[in-house]
């Protein structure tokens, strides 16, 4: 009897122990840093928080970040959708190599991503010399920041859409072809409605990463205050000057963007799960 009872006790205590470990580990490693951002930002009250944004350099960093994302995100969305269409809807040799190449920026250190653009356009190259003569600035200027951001956020839309479009197959599109629809019509009326939520999430993720990129942008920006400082670089500058409240206030903008991304992902998972369950009931 006692062995039986102790066995049952053990069977119940193991899940409880594992739930406890998981909660403690995730709370310590993930929730605490998140909480710290907002606690530090509001340490001196709401007035000090909002005062951090009423600053010439903060505003210029926000403007530059918005501009960078406004160029980088649409370009990568167009590329991501095109690449996903090509990879998910057709069979061709070398497809796996292509997928690996698209993933490449994801596997490269952000610092190295920045370095390759310094090597390409820096003043030590022939191209760099030519650009100095013609007064074109890419490195330590806005174009370099945009290029580095495009490079780093390059895989996100494609990565998200390829598995989604592969899962959906080509039957619906083939039916549209047999009914005489053209390529654009098929994409807008058949494919897009099927991938719209995945696409929306990938845009939000790509945007959050574009606005938050630090390593690659840091290498190509030159940290010129009011000119080439993006929001993450401005956070670094403020932190290095011990303006902690201002640093965390500006950082909280990006943290909020990160939270929006998490909510979008959860909503997407919830939506696709419900759709699948709905299908299994009706089918």
């Amino acid at each position: 009897m006692t062995t039986n009872r102790s066995k049952r006790f053990r069977e119940r205590s193991v899940p409880l122990l594992l739930i406890f470990i998981t909660t403690a580990f995730l709370a310590l490693f993930l929730l605490m840093p998140l909480a710290a951002i907002f606690v530090e930002a509001f340490r001196k009250g709401a007035q000090a928080y909002f005062a951090s944004f009423n600053d010439r350099y903060a505003m210029s960093a926000i403007r530059l970040t918005l501009l960078t994302a406004a160029i980088a995100v649409p370009m990568n969305v167009v590329f991501g959708v095109t690449a996903a269409w090509c990879i998910a809807k057709f069979e061709f040799p070398g497809k796996n190599v292509l997928i690996t190449l698209i993933d490449l920026p994801f596997a490269i250190s952000p610092v190295i991503a920045g370095l390759i653009f310094v090597l390409a356009f820096g003043r030590q190259t022939m191209l760099g010399e030519w650009m100095i003569e013609h007064d074109i600035k890419i490195i330590f200027a806005v174009p370099g920041i945009v290029l580095a951001t495009i490079f780093v956020t390059f895989p996100f839309v494609a990565r998200e859409l390829i598995p989604l479009m592969q899962e959906q197959g080509t039957i619906e599109e083939e039916a549209a072809v047999s009914l005489g629809a053209g390529g654009w019509d098929i994409f807008w009326k058949v494919t897009l409605p099927n991938i719209k939520w995945g696409l929306l999430y990938s845009v939000i993720l790509c945007n959050a990463r574009a606005m938050g990129e630090f390593g690659a942008v840091s290498v190509v920006s030159g940290h010129i205050r009011g000119e080439t400082n993006t929001i993450p670089l401005h956070v670094e500058t403020l932190y290095a000057e011990y303006s902690y409240v201002a640093a965390f206030s500006v950082a909280s903008l990006l943290a909020f963007l990160g939270l929006v991304t998490l909510v979008a992902k959860t909503a997407l998972e919830w939506k696709t799960k419900r759709k699948k369950e709905g299908k299994s009931i009706s089918g």
Binding site: E11, V14, P15, L18, T22, T23, F25, L26, L28, F29, L30, P33, A36, F79, T82, A83, C86, K89, F90, E91, F92, L98, T100, L101, L104, A107, I108, S109, P110, V111, I112, L115, I116, F117, L119, A120, Q124, I150, F151, E174, V177, I186, G212, E213, F214, G215, P232, L233, V235, E236, Y239, F248, A251, L254, A255, G258, L262, V263, K265, T266
Partner: protein
């Protein structure tokens, strides 16, 4: 255009989409990357060796690889427990925990960096406790390890979750009905079937940690020979306009991530073959 004949699809747009994909990929990724290789080949072999093996650089390899490896091990253990708990049990707050796992992935690295530094500094929420015990975390190698653990966690959990969900419960029940204890079922039935996913998650976390910059440079303090990570040294060399030195170290790091990517692909290939 030989492969056009192999394409059986009736859908339009293959040539256009492939062309756009390859052009964009070439311009944005492959062309700049090839410049890195080209720049290295202009270095002489002895210069290259000198740049990648100076005492300061070697100290940074030790710290980066060591801390990244330890962080990946810790993530493999706790990530496994977390993935298991999130797929198998129901408890209040589970959905929140599941959603928050992606946080290191969604949060900008510099934001994570200053948040971690604040928590683990000697007057921070966690750091002050350890400080009383005489242990310093921020501005020491332990801080680097903490930041790399933070950044790698989602890779292990998210790689493991689908493969734990796919586990056939009937096999576990069969093992138990044959007299296996829970512990034996875990070691002999569950673990072997999720091992490829665990290995992939571990390698992804390790690879990501090797190149990480933003979340580490604040908490590490960047003391020469002590808490400088390799990515930081690359940045330092660039700031001193030592392009050759920065390129040489980058090639070493790229080589390391290339080997890790190869391991991941081989693991997946092996796992797929095992299923057949």
């Amino acid at each position: 255009m030989k492969w056009k004949f192999k394409q059986h699809s009736v859908l339009p747009g293959f040539g256009l989409t492939l062309g756009v994909t390859l052009t964009y990929l070439g311009l944005i990724v492959l062309l700049p990357l090839s410049l890195l290789v080209w720049n290295t080949s202009s270095l002489s072999w002895s210069d290259f060796l000198k740049a990648v093996s100076s005492a300061q650089v070697v100290a940074s390899y030790k710290l980066t690889f060591g801390a990244a490896f330890l962080a990946a091990v810790v993530n493999a253990v706790f990530g496994f427990i977390a993935a298991w708990t999130l797929t198998r049990y129901k408890f209040p707050g589970k959905k929140l925990l599941d959603a928050i796992v992606d946080m290191p992935f969604a949060m900008p690295t510099s934001v994570s960096g200053i948040a971690l530094t604040t928590i683990y500094a000697s007057n921070g929420w966690v750091g002050s406790w350890f400080n009383q015990a005489g242990i310093k975390i921020a501005y020491t190698p332990i801080g680097v390890f903490i930041a790399l653990t933070f950044i790698g966690l989602p890779f292990v959990v998210r790689t493991l979750q689908p493969s734990l969900e796919d586990l056939d419960k009937e096999i576990e029940e069969a093992a138990e009905s044959l007299g296996a204890t829970k512990w034996q079922t875990f070691w002999r039935v569950i673990l072997p079937s999720v091992l490829p996913a665990l290995a992939t998650g571990f390698t992804l976390a390790f690879a990501r940690a090797l190149g990480e910059y933003g979340s580490v440079v604040f908490i590490s303090g960047n003391l020469p020979m002590k808490t400088e990570i390799t990515a930081f040294l690359i940045v330092t060399k660039l700031e001193q306009f030592d392009y050759a030195g920065a390129t040489a170290i980058s090639v070493v790091m790229l080589g390391a991530s290339f080997v890790l990517m190869l391991i991941i692909n081989m693991t997946q290939w092996y796992a797929r073959r095992g299923k057949k």
